[in-house]
């Protein structure tokens, strides 16, 4: 048997290869009992592959996984759960139309009665001080509450090791603080936690140790409490972190882009309606829209880009020109370009070449069409220019968009719109799933575009991003827009409260208290 203090989890030279890439190369690290250990790395560093092997979704090509000092073979997630390993995924797998209790029952390996299950759920909830009503329908819950369902699901099995994959990417700052309470409580009871993230200040606040993964290899270990966020970021990207130059000389002009009482009905059962949205963006200004996912951001992007037209021309105005009733083609003609959140299948066609994807939105502004016939050479030249200027890593303009990594495709899409020098650019989640290096480059390009006089709207869930590049910002919550804040004066607390739905407006607070009484 093992003589030293057994680690809860130990990885010895774990290696996993996919066609063309070595996802994990000789990865070794240890997590002690009751410790919160961070697995830190950029997108594509191999974090997800690694935890999928620990949870039994994939098998390592070589190397050993040890739990409590014993070498284990984890053939599937069911076996992992039996060994006391739980996992909370970044994307939830919940049925919207069913209750919390039903959702948890569906995910259990054993068969127990609803009454017994409810009793056990309530035990877990009180033990960890979690607020969740087992009989609520999932579609009525906030994202933070949905995540709690996944956590309860994992905790019901009394895990010794809990894996959390990017758990805070969908939470408000207040919800994050609550989650951290729960995790600390768990760790104090002896459960080890493997915490995957690229958000450095969270890791500093929460974790006892960290392993840094880059290009599939462990490139360092550190005590996050001893390091600065910057030093960890530099270990993570393996180079010096580039600062975004806001450009102090930037002149803000008059109102360039005005959104005036924009109201759009929600689509389908789970769509969010936009309710009387008003804001304006000045020449040379970057305007941020924060908010927790699913509060109307997608609907807002569609209404601003012209994919969903408005009933009234004056709801969307560019330099005083009413664009509300126009579709995307005409809005682009007047100088309004947009980048949606989803890259594959929305911002780009995955199985089309980059040249064809350049034609998709740039054909008119870049003069690629004569009498309905496409000038393929012009399109190719434009695609090549984007690839060069935005250093998109690809074999050439004939590669399909789907063959590019997320970050590279995002650079291509951003480049395609920015190089059309739009008067107004609307971007949703510009750096979602993009590595830190590429994110910095994209931020710089946005700032440069604003410097040339364009008005830019950035819709993002990443507060750090908005605080870094925006001049003013507002928060969208349940399809309503908050008051506008000056970024220089705004505090995280204030923004967090707005994201959670408290509008500083006395009426809405009374409504909330009343609702609480009814419930």
């Amino acid at each position: 048997m093992n003589t030293d203090v057994a680690c809860r989890l130990e990885l010895r030279s774990v290696t996993k290869a996919f066609p063309g890439v070595l996802a994990n190369d000789q990865v070794s690290f240890k997590v002690g009992p009751g410790k919160i250990h961070a697995l830190l790395g950029e997108n594509g560093a191999g974090k997800s592959t690694l935890v999928k092997m620990i949870y039994g979704i994939m098998q390592p090509d070589a190397g050993e996984i040890l739990l409590d000092g014993n070498v284990v073979h984890v053939p599937n997630p069911k076996a992992a759960r039996a060994m006391g390993v739980g996992m909370v995924f970044q994307h939830f797998s919940l049925f919207e139309a069913m209750t919390v209790l039903e959702n948890i029952a569906l995910g259990l390996d054993e068969n127990i009665s609803h009454a017994e299950l409810e009793k056990r759920i309530r035990e877990v909830l009180t033990q960890y001080g979690l607020a969740l009503e087992p009989h609520r329908i999932v579609s009525t819950l906030s994202v933070g509450e949905r995540q709690r369902i996944e956590i309860v699901r994992a905790l019901l099995l009394n895990p010794n090791l809990l894996i959390m994959d990017e758990p805070t990417s969908v939470l408000t700052p207040q919800e994050v603080a609550q989650l951290f309470e729960t995790l600390r409580h768990l760790a104090a009871n002896g459960c080890s936690i493997l915490y995957i993230s690229h958000k450095l200040h969270e890791i500093q606040a929460l974790c006892d140790g960290a392993s840094i993964l880059r290009g599939g290899k462990i490139v360092g270990a550190c005590d996050p409490k001893q390091e600065s966020a910057r030093s960890m970021a530099e270990m993570m990207i393996g180079g010096e972190l580039m600062d975004v130059e806001k450009g102090p000389s930037r002149q803000l002009g008059g109102d360039r882009f005005v959104v005036n009482s924009l109201t759009v009905p929600g689509e389908g059962d789970f769509g969010v309606a936009l309710d009387d949205i008003n804001f304006s963006v000045r020449e040379g200004e970057i305007f941020g829209i924060a908010g927790v996912a699913g509060n109307g951001q997608n609907e807002l992007l569609l209404a601003l880009s012209g994919e969903v037209k408005s009933e009234d021309s004056y709801t969307v105005q560019l330099d005083g020109k009413p664009l509300g009733k126009l579709g995307t083609t005409l809005r682009r003609y007047f100088g309004l370009c947009a980048v949606p959140e989803e890259r594959n299948g929305h911002g780009a066609v995955p199985n089309f070449s980059l040249t064809d994807n350049a034609i998709l939105t740039a054909r008119n502004r870049k003069g690629m069409v004569n009498w309905g016939v496409i000038n393929a050479r012009k399109a190719e030249t434009y695609a090549d220019e984007i690839i060069q200027q935005f250093s998109v890593k690809t074999t050439g303009s004939t590669s399909t968009a789907g063959s590019l990594s997320g970050g590279n495709l995002q650079k291509f899409i951003m480049g395609r719109e920015i190089m059309q020098t739009p008067e107004v650019l609307i971007v949703s989640q510009p750096t979602w799933g993009v590595d830190a290096g590429a994110a910095a480059a994209i931020h710089q390009e946005l700032v440069n575009l604003a410097g040339r006089g364009s008005a830019i709207v950035v819709i993002s869930q990443d507060l750090d991003e908005l605080l870094a590049i925006c001049d003013r910002m507002a928060v969208i919550n349940e399809g309503k827009m908050s008051k506008t804040l000056n970024v220089a004066e705004a505090t995280i607390d204030e923004i967090g409260l707005l994201m959670g739905g408290v509008h500083g407006d006395p009426n809405s607070t009374t409504e909330m208290t009343e609702a609480a009484h009814v419930a």
């Binding site: 290869a17 066609p19 098998q59 034609i359 998709l360 309905g372 590669s399 063959s403």
Partner: protein, 358 residues
């Protein structure tokens, strides 16, 4: 030893062109085996069906005449298929277009003039378009699945044909046979030189070339491809999905209708109840075997024409059943769909990964 499928990073271009060839070869191999097991001379059957018509120059005019409607209809269908619109009812649009052209012919039976045939062709195109517009509008307005509606519309067109042949359009001097008058010289497709190849044959190839240009070089072709590949991206790019669905369906119906007039005013020379021969269905195979690409469709149209002509030869020389040609055609589509996986995946011989082995 293990045979594994491994995802390719990019779809293989060479496989894209190679799989139709592989499908045809597999069809020959399995066809030979099946007919041998059925007690025929399998090798001879494959030779008669696939080789004889291709090497006998005397059969070439016949190949052209059979290939022309297949190429026309398949070209039209491929536009819809690219937009993810599954028009299975080309046979109905082909019949309805032919009936529209026949209607013009019957109205002008005692007239003469070079304008009559073009007017029949125009009527055929419009007729086919109108008939295709029904499932298209049902899909756009009521979200009715076009696969079912367009297919069912085919049987309506057949019944309409039977009714007209036995009723209002029956030849008054035709001894009560259910068929129309013979078309006059002004109503028949002119033949080229002293062959019996009508001008619809070269026209079909020319139209396929025009379609190739439209699909690959124009904004309309781009629009159709984007709507089919990624509807959200299409909306983002400024293309209206419903309009594209309607237009691509009309293109399919129009070309099927034109093919119907070419056939009625060409080989048939009148309208008869035996007019529907399944070209509208076989054209679906042609469209896929030709990779939805007009140039590929020309080649595939000729291959399917070979199987038609070869099927007739094999009936007389080997006594193969009439269904043999249909069997071979169906196998071609089957093998094509089966081998298509090689475009996105590659076959790998070898052991499983060491970590996974037990």
């Amino acid at each position: 030893m293990l045979l594994e499928l491994e995802a390719r990073k990019e779809p293989s271009r060479s496989m894209l062109y190679l799989t139709p060839v592989i499908a045809v070869l597999l069809t020959m191999v399995f066809g030979a085996v099946i007919f041998t097991l059925l007690g025929y001379n399998g090798l001879a059957a494959v030779r008669e069906i696939f080789i004889t018509p291709a090497i006998d120059i005397g059969r070439w005019p016949d190949l052209g005449i059979k290939a022309a409607p297949l190429i026309l209809i398949a070209t039209g269908l491929s536009i819809g298929f690219r937009a993810n619109v599954w028009n299975i009812g080309a046979e109905g649009q082909y019949i309805f277009g032919a009936l529209a052209g026949t209607g013009v012919a019957l109205l002008t039976w005692d007239m003469e003039g070079v304008w009559i045939l073009p007017l029949m062709c125009l009527a055929g195109i419009v007729g086919g378009m109108l008939y295709a517009a029904i499932p298209a509008l049902l899909k756009i307005k009521l979200e009715v699945n076009e696969i079912l509606s367009s297919l069912m519309m085919t049987y309506v067109a057949v019944q309409l044909l039977y009714y007209l042949m036995r009723g209002p359009w029956m030849d008054p001097e035709g001894f009560n046979f259910p068929q129309t008058r013979l078309f006059s010289d002004s109503q028949l497709m002119p033949e080229i030189g002293d062959t019996f190849v009508h001008i619809g044959v070269p026209l079909a190839f020319i139209i396929a070339l025009i379609a190739w240009f439209t699909m690959s070089k124009t904004v309309f072709g781009f629009q159709v491809r984007v709507v089919g590949a990624a509807p959200h991206a299409a909306r983002y790019g400024g293309f209206n999905k419903n309009r594209t669905v309607l237009l691509s369906m009309l293109a399919g119906g129009g070309l099927a209708g034109l093919a119907g007039v070419f056939e009625a005013a060409g080989p048939f020379g009148q309208m008869v109840p035996q007019f529907p021969t399944g070209y509208g269905f076989t054209a679906i195979i042609v469209a896929f075997l030709g990779r939805l690409h007009p140039i590929g469709i020309m080649l595939a149209g000729v291959i399917l024409a070979i199987s038609y002509v070869g099927g007739e030869i094999a009936q007389t020389t080997l006594g193969l059943p009439n269904a043999a040609a249909g069997l071979f055609q169906a196998m071609m589509l089957f093998f094509l769909l089966a081998t298509d996986i090689l475009v996105k995946y590659r076959l790998r011989f070898g052991s499983a990964a060491p970590g996974g082995a037990k």
